[in-house]
């Protein structure tokens, strides 16, 4: 059998990919009703909480350069235990892709296309996603490189346009909520979006080896957090807490309030598109991860043949998981706990075993591991 050529993406592409992955769907919902105007503090705290785990992910890349998560699992845990872990991780990737897909289809359905069935929206979105996934990780990298600056600058533009409507008083009172509430909300930010980057470990084999993964993960986390911070502050300053908390999608409502000089109004449609452009990358990454996982689970050489079946599964799953939007938003409360095994326990396990094994191998033969 032919060995597949290794796909590789440049550091800047990987950076953009990570940033898009971070704010892709988080930019949709962000003001939490428990902490209201203090959400932005939660975000920053969430980033702080996430730093150790981000370092851990980077360490994994550093330990096994050029290998993706599934290959690492196979090396470390052998056939049976490794496969069990691969199955778990693939499930998480598949589930996440279904969740994000549902988020976006729900978003489109509620805000713009009331009469279009969600299935139709999902299929159209997934066609583009499958095409991108099939074209490979390099295409994804290039797409991210082009789209990340555009999406971010459009977000910045909405801030500039709304500057006369921003009311700085809306973020007062500062720290009204107890530290406990803010911290527990920070935990939500930790798991969605920061620790979700564990998915990107599945395609980390394609990151160029020369680049330090620490730098990459750190910079992109800070950048993604900065974009999210801007989005959250814009929504709070523009909408105030009651409206922002009542809305399913505060970003959309915030932008629909923007009006510049009487002629540039109703830009929310373009913002919706903008968010979807970013969201596509996240779904694609999850899909590729799930496809790679299943491929290595069943010993299939070319993961690309798994993409289409996984995409169909993802649609079916995303239709099934929630009955309505309320359920979807409520799931965000459970999600951090649900995600603990995938985001913390499994990576931690791999890291511990990996460190020991690599250490032993190094002790045995220092030439083998560069």
């Amino acid at each position: 059998m032919l060995k597949m050529p290794k796909e590789a993406i440049s550091p800047s592409q990987a950076f953009c990919l990570l940033v898009l992955f971070l704010f892709g769907s988080s930019a949709l919902f962000n003001i939490n009703d428990e902490v209201g105007q203090d959400s932005w503090i939660s975000l920053l705290l969430g980033l702080v909480f996430a730093l150790p785990i981000i370092l851990l992910y980077s360490r994994l890349i550093k330990l096994f350069p050029g290998k993706d998560l599934f290959e690492i699992m196979k090396i470390l845990f052998g056939k049976i235990a490794g496969r069990a872990l691969i199955a778990l991780m693939s499930w998480y990737a598949l589930h996440l892709s279904a969740l994000v897909l549902r988020n976006f289809s729900e978003f489109i359905k509620i805000t713009v296309m009331f009469e279009t069935p969600q299935l139709a929206i999902m299929i159209v979105m997934l066609l583009a996603i499958v095409y991108m996934a099939k074209s490979g990780i390099e295409t994804m990298g290039r797409w991210s490189l082009i789209i990340m600056p555009i999406v971010s600058s459009v977000i910045l533009l909405t801030v500039v346009l709304s500057i006369n409507k921003l009311d700085i008083n809306n973020i007062r009172p500062f720290m009204e909520h107890s530290f406990g509430a803010i911290a527990s909300n920070a935990f939500r930010f930790f798991s969605f979006p920061f620790a979700e980057t564990v998915i990107l470990l599945c395609i980390a084999g394609s990151f160029k080896r020369k680049e330090s993964p620490y730098k990459l993960y750190m910079y992109s986390s800070f950048c993604g957090a900065a974009v999210l911070l801007i989005v959250i502050l814009r929504n709070i300053l523009l909408l105030n807490t009651s409206m922002g908390m009542a809305d399913f999608f505060p970003s959309f409502t915030a932008v629909s309030v923007v009006e510049a000089g009487g002629f540039l109004a109703r830009v929310e449609g373009s913002i919706a598109t903008n968010l979807i452009l970013a969201g596509i990358v996240k779904i694609t990454a999850c899909l590729v991860a799930a496809a790679k996982g299943t491929a290595s689970l069943f010993g299939i050489q070319n993961y690309k043949s798994m993409i289409f079946p996984i995409a169909v599964l993802s649609i079916a799953l995303s239709l099934m998981i929630f009955r309505n939007t309320i359920q979807m938003v409520d799931f965000l409360d459970i999600y951090p706990f649900y995600a603990i095994p995938f985001q913390i326990i499994i990576p931690l396990l791999i890291w511990l075993v990996g460190e020991i094994k690599v250490h032993r191998m190094r002790a045995k033969d220092s030439k083998e591991i560069p």
């Binding site: 296309m113 007062r172 009172p173 105030n240 009651s242 409502t253 629909s256 309030v257 109703r266």
Partner: protein, 377 residues
């Protein structure tokens, strides 16, 4: 060969999604609603809605858009909206609505939150719709009146609302999302613009008439346009308008045109006693002095400034007094100000805020600077 067949099949397949949007609605299929008036049949507990629509049938090139009224009824607002389809060919489209008029009776007896829920919830309606209260028997009276500048009365009213704070400063316009925020805010009550009908050139015409004061989202009374101005002073929403002062005696004879204003609110809480401090800094032009012409000198001007300051302080005090005694409604957001500055204190005061508001002390300090006296000395 198979590749060619497959790709041509795919191209054919593409025709289906490319033929248009699922949600496509052409301009000819829409009835564009510019404004809604909400009334209630008193005996039957049924909502009566009157929509102003833009008439696209007649050519609009010469006269500008024409308008028509559609009426419908329903047990709920949304039902009434859909019931309109029973008498009009095209579905009502709310994406361009700019105005909601609520009749006094609904405003007095029903929670505003309940009535407006549809407009906030529905994604077709924009969050920037303005909400006003009708002082006439029905809200329909306002929307049925004819505009002077525009044939479409909703546009006319919208422009009146938008320009008011720069020209007359007698109302505070509130967009739907801000209204929603005020309803949910701590220590702040709602105040909406009020409209009534006057005879102008023999025709009924809508005119702003001060502020409708709410308490717990229900209408409790009105402020006159004059009183509303001092309300605007307190909430720092003044950007223009005329401020009249009597230089001597009772009758006002000086008109100051307000150039800009900055109001600073602060509070003091000592020995269970709350004191609100209002400090205004206003720059004005002397635009009119109704007396025998005599050039003004600096001394006189300083004296005028002092009189004006005293007058403004009194008027501000009176408005606060009126809300404390007559309505008991904190439309100034004093409570909100405390909440924003010291939420721990607010938690203590919150439960008895009504009492605290009614008994609070006021310290008003007005600073008026006459910038010039127009073209005459």
């Amino acid at each position: 060969m198979t590749k060619k067949i497959a790709s041509s099949l795919l191209i054919l397949l593409l025709l289906i999604p490319l033929s248009g949007c699922w949600d496509y609605r052409g301009l000819d299929e829409l009835t564009i609603v510019t404004g809604v008036a909400i009334d209630k049949k008193p005996e039957e507990d049924i909502y009566q809605l009157t929509y102003e629509i833009v008439d696209l049938i007649e050519p609009i090139k010469e006269k500008g858009p024409n308008r028509k009224l559609i009426e419908s009824e329903g047990k709920t607002i949304f039902e009434a909206v859909r019931n309109a389809k029973r008498r009009v060919s095209n579905k009502l489209y709310f994406g361009h609505s700019e105005l909601i008029i609520i009749c006094e009776e609904i405003a007095r007896n029903e929670d505003l939150n309940v009535v407006l829920d549809f407009f906030i919830r529905d994604s077709e309606c924009r969050e920037t719709i303005n909400v006003v209260v009708s002082q006439e028997k029905t809200a329909r009276d306002i929307i049925a009146s004819e505009g002077i500048g525009h044939t479409v009365i909703s546009n006319e009213i919208l422009e009146i609302l938008e320009d008011d704070k720069k020209i007359t400063s007698s109302i505070l316009s509130v967009e739907l999302y801000r209204l929603f925020n005020i309803m949910g805010a701590e220590g702040k009550e709602l105040a909406l613009p009020a409209f009534h009908i006057v005879q102008n050139d023999g025709k009924p015409t809508a005119e702003t008439n001060g502020t409708a004061v709410f308490k717990d989202n229900k209408l409790v009374g009105f402020l006159s346009p004059e009183e509303s101005k001092y309300f605007l002073f307190i909430v720092n929403e003044i950007e223009g308008g005329i401020f009249t002062v009597a230089s001597s005696g009772q009758r006002p004879d000086i008109s100051f045109e307000i150039y800009n204003n900055d109001t600073n609110l602060s509070f003091e809480y000592k020995d269970e006693k709350l004191k609100i401090k209002i400090k205004t800094t206003t720059v004005v032009f002397l635009g009119e002095f109704m007396r025998q012409f005599a050039p003004l000198d600096e001394k006189e001007l300083n004296a005028l400034e002092e009189t004006a300051e005293k007058e403004l302080e009194d008027k501000i005090r009176n408005v606060v007094k009126k809300l404390q005694t007559e309505f008991g409604s904190d439309i100034f957001g004093f409570g909100n100000m405390i909440y924003k500055k010291d939420f721990r204190l607010w938690r203590q005061l919150k439960d008895n805020w009504d009492e605290h508001f009614k008994s609070l002390d006021l310290e008003v300090e007005a600073d008026i600077r006459i910038m010039n006296t127009a073209t005459i000395k």
